[in-house]
Symmetry: C2
Subunit: 139 residues, 2 copies
């Protein structure tokens, strides 16, 4: 079964990083698995209600620890709140600066530089975001 296989994989990753496998974390990952778009913690909390109960604080802590181990990615695309998403196919985002709507931008042909930057030893990830107005707000 693909699903439990995935869960086992996740459990293994959690353990590898010294994190315990808890219902709270599995539920969180389940939400990301079924919502492949950037989610703010408040949105996650709303989605969480259908699968169980969890404290906002725990959500903040779990989301942060999962981001640290690279299972989910932290996105700084909003002025207000941090978003997280599960990395699927390489993509970027388009953000409406008026209403905050976020669209995925697939098949981006960006070439990233392999430049060595003095003063920085480890580059873990990058983020490319586009900002503008969606059709609704541009009126």
């Amino acid at each position: 079964m693909k699903c439990s296989q995935h869960t086992n994989e996740i459990s293994a990753t959690l353990k590898d990083n010294g994190l315990k496998v808890t219902p709270g974390r599995l539920g969180l990952l389940d939400i990301f698995k079924h919502n492949k778009k950037p989610l703010a913690v408040k949105e996650i909390a709303k989605l969480y209600k259908s699968i169980g109960k969890i404290d906002l604080v725990t959500l903040y802590r779990n989301v942060e620890s999962l981001a640290e181990m690279g299972i989910i990615k932290k996105l700084r695309i909003s002025d207000k709140e941090i978003h997280y998403e599960i990395p699927h196919s390489h993509h970027h985002h388009l953000v409406c600066t008026s209403c905050g709507k976020i669209a995925d931008l697939e098949n981006c042909e960006v070439r990233l530089p392999k430049t060595k930057i003095p003063g920085f030893s480890k580059i873990k990830e990058h983020s490319l975001e586009f900002f503008g107005l969606c059709n609704t707000c541009d009126k």
Copy 2:
């Protein structure tokens, strides 16, 4: 004189956008002109002390209105606060996820896509940021 010429230019831009030319705004732009790196509002306030007095709230409001008219660029590179910078030569940033240190990344060879995105009419700007650990934090 290059300096007053620049100020006149700025004044014109302010007026064109229906904004009044106030000492507060000119001082703010002066700071950006002399500090070509991302600045958080708190840092701006500190720099402002040497040229005059201004309320933090006014700073927030001015920085926002200048960003809206494209005189300065809003950067979402920190988890904690918004940064602004005056656009100089096209560049991106490298951010240390541990201490928050920011480095400019010049001569970036990124090719941006000319893709048309459904649902979005106007794309105003983009931002490409790299996240990692600086030499100091990577120990």
